[in-house]
């Protein structure tokens, strides 16, 4: 059996009588970006903090690259780099000193060359020797990435990494994660920003009230031959709708505006309608498939969860 980059087995956290995390299991493969998705209070942060040993587990095991955290603590911890919420630094020290501080704590020696390499990677060369209190939030976030990567971990753990970043920063951060994953790094990332996760992850787990209710891969959400809502842009939408209704049987077709109508149809159907319109001398300016977003899917799944509970 191939080892997973991270394997979490029946992770549980109980405080008092409250189950914050309830029997959560999942695994992250090598080179994969795996998301933990859920509303605030669903237990994402608690799960991440249990994996990085900031919070004690009530029950369950964490295995990193085949190393059990309970058996070989140091080796397992050495395999991961993490940013837990906003990365905080010693503000009275320079960025370089901060990195040096964490480099000193690594099991394997981190050379000055490596520190410089990482600093270059996150584009902080110019401010490396300035005190961290002068850094912008974006710069601190990049310094956070630098400290997580210093010791060449095989697993990167990020808790709400885009919190407080501007759109530009978020985009840079995302591109950066994809580059790292491309190089074979595995990433576990949590967020409540659904659209953000959709762009970032290969697979994701949906959490609600401490329970894992669904694991899905991004491909699943965009199955090619599934019937989807398609918007046609034409010169006269009412006439076009009449023509389509007359010729083929479609379930939900409606006029959106003078020049747009939408129809629920699969891939093959799009071609059929297009040919039909053209042969009836209706100009087609554009055809757009409306992708079901992760958000729709998320609500679909969480609503199911609620219904099951009611039953």
């Amino acid at each position: 059996m191939a080892t997973h980059a991270l394997e979490v087995r029946s992770l549980t956290k109980v405080i008092g009588k409250k189950k914050l995390v309830d029997d959560v299991s999942f695994s992250v493969e090598k080179g994969e970006i795996f998301g933990l998705l859920g509303p605030n209070g669903a237990g994402k942060t608690t799960i991440i903090r249990m994996i990085v040993s900031l919070i004690k587990r009530t029950d369950g095991a964490v295995i990193i690259n085949g190393t059990n955290l309970d058996e070989q603590y140091k080796d397992a911890m050495s395999e991961m780099g993490a940013i837990v919420e906003n990365p905080e630094f010693y503000k009275y020290m320079s960025g370089y000193k901060n990195l040096k501080h964490y480099a000193n704590m690594a099991l394997k020696e981190v050379s000055d060359e490596r520190i410089k390499e990482v600093v270059k990677l996150v584009k902080l060369e110019d401010v490396m020797h300035k005190k961290v209190k002068t850094y912008s939030l974006g710069m601190r976030q990049r310094l956070g990435v630098a400290q997580a990567l210093l010791h060449n971990p095989s697993l990167l753990i990020l808790d709400e990494p885009t919190n407080g970043l501007d759109p530009q920063g978020i985009r840079e951060f995302r591109d950066y994660l994809h580059t790292l994953a491309g190089q074979g790094m595995s990433v576990l990332v949590s967020s409540h920003l659904l659209s953000e996760m959709q762009l970032m992850c290969n697979r994701f787990a949906i959490l609600e009230k401490g329970k894992l209710i669904h694991i899905a891969s991004m491909n699943e959400t965009s199955e090619i031959d599934e019937a989807k809502e398609v918007v046609f842009e034409v010169d006269n939408s009412q006439e076009a709708v009449d023509v389509v209704k007359e010729q083929i049987e479609v379930s939900s077709i409606k006029v959106i505006s003078d020049q747009q109508f939408s129809v629920h149809i699969n891939r093959a159907g799009i071609g059929t309608i297009n040919r039909l319109l053209i042969s009836n001398e209706i100009d087609v300016f554009g055809i757009n498939r409306v992708e079901a977003t992760l958000e729709d899917r998320f609500f679909e799944i969480t609503n199911q969860g609620v219904k099951e509970e009611v039953k």
């Binding site: 900031l54 603590y73 010693y90 000193n104």
Partner: protein
């Protein structure tokens, strides 16, 4: 472990406050030197004659005084006679006299500043949120905590050494080099105790070290218990000041109740043993040391067990 301690010391000395505290010690010692130099005035060459005259003066007034006053005057005469008999100049000045009388007083500042640094040590990591980056490293929690504790001890020793070295130098400049083993009398509860000035100073320092160790241990424990740096430092200083008051209170309680001897406060200041052999009636130095050791062990165990188990959720 050594790299962890080096890290903690780096953080400590990157903070401006750590340097300011050292400067405060220097300023206190220098100010002490200037003030005692100004107060001292010209040394009396013929102090024996002056003192003899004083004794005769007292003798005369004793003849006329009432019974109650007579006893008090007799005691004074006795004290002064001792200086004459043993050939000890009560107004003698040298760097060692300065060390024993003035510089020794600066230890209260060393304690205070050590308490401030110790109680900020862990709580500041919580307050700044840096604790979560610190504890996700491949090191056991207790090792990280221990490195912090050792770095605090090192800093406290640096403060103490700064005090001693600067005290010696300031004394040397202000009063010149004196006899290390010059005889002095120290006022104690049971009369005057004869001692050599230099050894007496270092004896006090030796007795001061256990106090410093245990007070910083209390501050360090508070530092791990509280997430707020201000709260930890505030309570640390409060305990420091209240302890001497409570220590005094225990002296009275000890006359009536046996348990008062097992309370930590009267044992915190061991320097009294430099002046007298027993406190609280019949308590001796080994007993005090034993009490302190027990408390120290309890504080340390509480600190480390609590920190090891704690959930970091800030």
């Amino acid at each position: 472990m050594i790299s962890l301690i080096r890290n903690e010391l780096m953080k400590m000395f990157q903070k401006k406050s750590s340097w300011i505290y050292l400067i405060i010690i220097l300023i206190a010692v220098i100010a002490g030197g200037i003030i005692s130099n100004a107060v001292a005035g010209e040394p009396d060459e013929d102090w024996k004659a002056t003192m003899k005259a004083e004794v005769e003066e007292l003798q005369k007034s004793a003849d006329e005084a009432s019974e109650g006053e007579k006893q008090y005057i007799q005691e004074q005469i006795q004290q002064k006679q001792q200086y004459l008999d043993k050939d000890v100049n009560p107004d003698a000045q040298s760097n060692w006299h300065f060390m024993n009388e003035v510089v020794y007083g600066v230890t209260i500042l060393v304690t205070l500043l050590s308490v401030i640094v110790a109680s900020a040590s862990v709580s500041s990591e919580f307050a700044d949120g840096t604790i979560k980056q610190l504890l996700i490293r491949p090191h056991q929690r207790w090792a990280i905590l221990l490195s912090k504790y050792i770095s605090i001890l090192i800093y406290a020793l640096v403060l103490l050494l700064t005090m001693i070295v600067s005290g010696y130098l300031v004394g040397l400049i202000a009063f010149g080099n004196g006899d290390f083993s010059a005889k002095i009398f120290e006022m104690a509860m049971d009369g005057q105790k004869e001692a050599a000035v230099g050894p007496q100073f270092f004896l006090k320092m030796a007795y001061y070290l256990p106090s410093l160790l245990i007070i910083t241990a209390i501050a360090f424990m508070l530092s791990t218990l509280f997430k707020s740096q201000a709260l930890a430092v505030g309570i640390g200083i409060f305990v420091l000041f209240v302890s001497s008051t409570l220590g005094g209170l225990m002296v009275f309680l000890a006359e009536k109740y046996e348990w008062a001897k097992f309370v930590i406060f009267p044992h915190l200041d061991l320097t009294v043993y430099a002046l007298q052999d027993k406190i609280l009636g019949d308590v001796t130095l080994p007993f005090s040391l034993m009490i302190l050791t027990i408390y120290y062990a309890i504080f340390m165990i509480l600190t480390f067990v609590f920190f090891q188990k704690r959930d970091i959720s800030i």
